[in-house]
């Protein structure tokens, strides 16, 4: 039951994108087409879950024993950067089509605050390993869900008449606000 609450909480109530504002740059940048959004979402789910496990290990076996918690930010970002590089090489070799369509946004996962953010949140909340994995995966699923929903809406923007100054990011943000409002309805569910 505790785990169930954690999952629902991370996906819907405290959606990492729409309630905690982590990872907005790829959200507004990449999510213009449905299939790119799905690819990006999948990449984030993979990287974020893996990053959760690895940062947990770094925290527990390196930072705490040597009492160097103050370089946590530096250590975590390095681990994440290495991980993203690995995923990039892997994708380039085995899924070149997806690699091409993701383009510049794959290396940018390194600077996706959702990954570092989720890692820091699980450390701050003192989750154990299982909870860290569940929280990371659920957060990433929430991210992917919001990304895909948003891409679906955005495809419609192309055929609708939008006031000129709002075109592009402006209307994207307004739409994200409405999406965030609808996720707000989940508050109080648990």
């Amino acid at each position: 039951m505790e785990y169930f609450e954690l999952i629902i909480g991370a996906i819907f109530i405290n959606n990492i994108l729409l309630a905690k504002f982590l990872g907005n740059c790829p959200f507004l940048g990449v999510s213009k087409k449905m299939d790119t959004a799905i690819g990006m979402g999948a990449a984030v789910v993979f990287v974020l879950t893996l990053a959760g496990v690895i940062t947990y290990a770094v925290e527990k076996y390196l930072l705490i024993p040597f009492d160097i918690g103050y370089i946590r930010t530096l250590a975590f970002i390095l681990v994440i950067a290495a991980l993203v590089q690995f995923v990039e090489i892997f994708m380039k070799k085995s899924i070149p089509a997806l690699y091409k369509s993701l383009g510049i946004f794959l290396p940018l996962i390194t600077t996706n605050c959702a990954v570092l953010g989720a890692a820091i949140i699980s450390i701050q909340n003192e989750y154990d390993l299982i909870k860290t994995i569940i929280f990371s995966a659920a957060s990433a699923v929430g991210f992917a869900l919001a990304l895909v929903l948003f891409a679906g809406v955005r495809e419609r923007f192309e055929i609708s008449r939008i006031p000129k100054p709002l075109q592009g990011t402006g209307i994207g943000l307004v739409m994200a606000g409405l999406l965030s409002l609808s996720f707000f309805a989940f508050k109080g569910m648990i």
């Binding site: 729409l18 309630a19 905690k20 504002f21 982590l22 990872g23 907005n24 740059c25 507004l28 103050y70 370089i71 946590r72 930010t73 530096l74 970002i77 390095l78 950067a81 290396p107 940018l108 390194t110 600077t111 996706n112 605050c113 570092l116 953010g117 820091i120 949140i121 701050q124 006031p163 000129k164 100054p165 709002l166 990011t169 402006g170 209307i171 994207g172 943000l173 307004v174 739409m175 994200a176 606000g177 409405l178 965030s180 409002l181 707000f184």
Partner: protein, 200 residues
């Protein structure tokens, strides 16, 4: 001199972060509930931006091209750790209210973006001017957004007027997450209108 001045001033309007270069959205949306937080975030980001721009520019001939992004991230992270320690030691209240977003300066796209797009190709003085201009522009943008959200969302502006209630029945929605997106989106539109008016 004139080119240095130009690098500095372009960050204040022509390429002002958040409005013209739409980067650094996460802190902009998350911490802008009060003007004070906006200012704090802006100053912290400016410090990191100036420091990393200067150091990247200084090392631009040494850093190998293939691993440059990793090097930039290490440089940026070092400055962020400094900011983390300074805020915890001297501005504890601010560090509590900004919380996770201080370590997250490390993944603020503006900073890595300036290192990649500007500092690695330009001299130290120019890079410092660019970093300072961009940082101040970012701070102003954050304070504007935060000011709007605080004034209309909470009815007061703590930074300027203390606890005086300026608006009797504030629109609390603006302080919540959806309000942040909506306010920034509309502000962006408004900026485009103003910019088009100026350009004619």
């Amino acid at each position: 001199m004139s080119t240095i001045a130009r690098e500095f001033t372009k960050g204040l309007w022509d390429e002002i972060p958040l409005f013209r270069i739409v980067l650094g959205l996460c802190p902009a949306l998350a911490v802008t509930t009060t003007m004070e937080n906006g200012l704090g975030m802006g100053v912290a980001a400016t410090f990191v931006l100036v420091g990393s721009n200067g150091l990247v520019s200084m090392l631009r001939k040494i850093i190998p091209n293939e691993v440059r992004v990793a090097c930039y991230i290490v440089i940026i992270a070092t400055f962020v750790v400094c900011v983390e320690m300074i805020t915890k030691a001297y501005f504890f209240a601010l560090s509590e209210s900004l919380g996770i977003f201080i370590p997250l300066i490390v993944v603020n796209c503006i900073i890595l973006g300036r290192a990649e797009a500007f500092a690695r190709k330009n001299t130290i003085v120019k890079s410092l001017a660019d970093g300072l201009g961009m940082g101040i522009g970012f701070t102003l943008a954050l304070m504007l957004l935060a000011g709007i959200r605080e004034l209309f969302g909470a009815g007061k502006l703590t930074l300027l007027f203390g606890d005086t209630i300026l608006i009797q029945h504030p629109f609390g929605f603006l302080q919540q997450a959806p309000g942040a997106f909506l306010a920034l989106g509309l502000l962006l539109g408004l900026m485009n209108v103003i910019n088009n008016k100026i350009r004619g």
